[in-house]
Structure formats: C-alpha cells, structure tokens
C-alpha cells in the first residue's frame, strides 16, 4: 500500500510518502488510522485529533468505514484550504 501525507500531517510524520505491507486485520480507513497512530512518535502527534484528518482512497474522499486494500493509494491530510483566502 502507498501512503501519502500532505501539509502539517506530512511535517509531523516527517515523510511525504511510504510503502507499507498492510496487516491482515486492518480492513478499513478507521482501522488504518488506529494502526498508524499505534506506531507512536510523529504518527501519534499527526493523528492525535482525527476530527482534523481527511482521508482519500485512490484519490477519492473516503469515510472511516471505507474498505482499504493492499494495492490502494491512501492519502492523509488536513481539511482543504484552497481558492483565494476568504
């Protein structure tokens, strides 16, 4: 599985991308976030408040119950802030 990190999620984890082997019992977005947070360090700091974490599975926004598979590209990032500044 390819994991991508953006904005302050990237800064806290200290990586912009990594390849991982998905554990068999991690089958949803929510389980993946729990598993990543369990790695501690920057992962725990980046994922301490899941209300400000958004997830895309294969470039589409995904909810916590969305299924994940080993060949997915999964991105973690804060809520988007595009366009002109309001």
């Amino acid at each position: 599985m390819t994991l991508l990190y953006f904005a302050w999620v990237r800064e806290r984890i200290g990586l912009d991308a990594e390849e991982i082997a998905l554990p068999a019992d991690v089958q949803t977005v929510a389980a993946l976030l729990d598993w990543l947070r369990g790695r501690g360090g920057g992962y725990a700091r980046a994922l301490e408040d899941l209300s400000v974490i958004r997830v895309a599975v294969n470039q589409e926004f995904a909810r916590p119950d969305h299924a994940v598979a080993d060949d997915d590209e999964i991105a973690l990032f804060p809520p988007v802030t595009g366009g002109a500044r309001p």
Partner: protein, 152 residues
C-alpha cells in the same frame, strides 16, 4: 478544462482562448482569487505557499466541473489553479464560465469557486514576520458550499 500550474495566468488571454469565435456564447462570467496580506487577527501575510495532491486535484476538479455542466447549460468552462509560493497581490485561481445567457454563467461560476474551496486538495501555509502557519479550514467555506446542496 482544468489546469494546475505554478506560473501566473493572463485573464484576457484565457477568456479569449476559451470563448473566442463561439457564436453561441452570450455571457462570460469570471472569478479571480488574489492573495491578500490581511490576516485578520494576526500580523500581515508576507507570502503563502500552496501545497497540493496532483492526482487527486485533477480528479476532483474534473468532477466539480462535470457537476457544473450537469446543473447549468454551459458552453465552456475553465479552472486554473496555481500552486507554490505566492505573495500578496498575486493571482491564485481563475474560474471562467460561458453560456448563452448570463444567469447560467454567473451561477455556475459562483458554484465552482465555492466547491473549489471545500473539495479541491490544496493546503495553504502562510508566512508572516512572526513565523509560518498552516491555514485552518473555515466553517464559512463549508456553509458556502452547502448552499448549493439540492439546487438549482
């Protein structure tokens, strides 16, 4: 049509390229977003950097544009979004919509910019004399996008 680029854009040239010679078009609406120095409660912004997720950006922007074309009778549309470091006064985003009549062009243009701000995967980091910070999403932007749920 969607473009994400580091360079500035020429508004007149973009509108001309999109609409020139099409005799069905009776109305063109455009929105240009510009970097502001005003930070509200904090020190003035000296620059901002826009980070984005290229594969998802193209996909989300294409979906947003297809949705606008389903809702309104548009002849042509264009979104140009910049990334990288921008200083106050620089253009960030251009939305152009063209239709036979003004209402479709104006409404579709407003719809596209409201959706861009809540759905397109861009993140802003502001620089001030006091340091840098990531911009937090605004509830007001979500409300502006929700305005379009169930319309027209």
């Amino acid at each position: 049509m969607i473009r994400v680029q580091r360079e500035d854009f020429d508004i007149g040239a973009e509108i001309e390229a999109l609409t020139g010679g099409d005799r069905e078009i009776g109305a063109v609406a455009s929105f240009v977003g510009i970097t502001r120095a005003d930070a509200g409660d904090g020190p003035p912004i000296t620059a901002m950097t826009l980070e984005h997720y290229p594969a998802m950006t193209e996909r989300q922007l294409a979906e947003i544009e297809a949705e606008a074309c389903r809702r309104w009778d548009l002849t042509a549309s264009l979104i140009v979004h910049r990334h990288g470091r921008l200083e106050p006064g620089e253009r960030i985003v251009l939305v152009v919509t063209a239709a036979s009549h003004r209402r479709a062009a104006l409404d579709a243009c407003a719809f596209l910019i409201d959706w861009l701000k809540t759905k397109a995967p861009f993140w802003k980091r502001e620089e001030t004399d006091a340091g840098t910070r990531w911009v937090a999403a605004r509830a007001a932007d979500d409300r502006a996008a929700e305005r379009w749920q169930g319309e027209p």
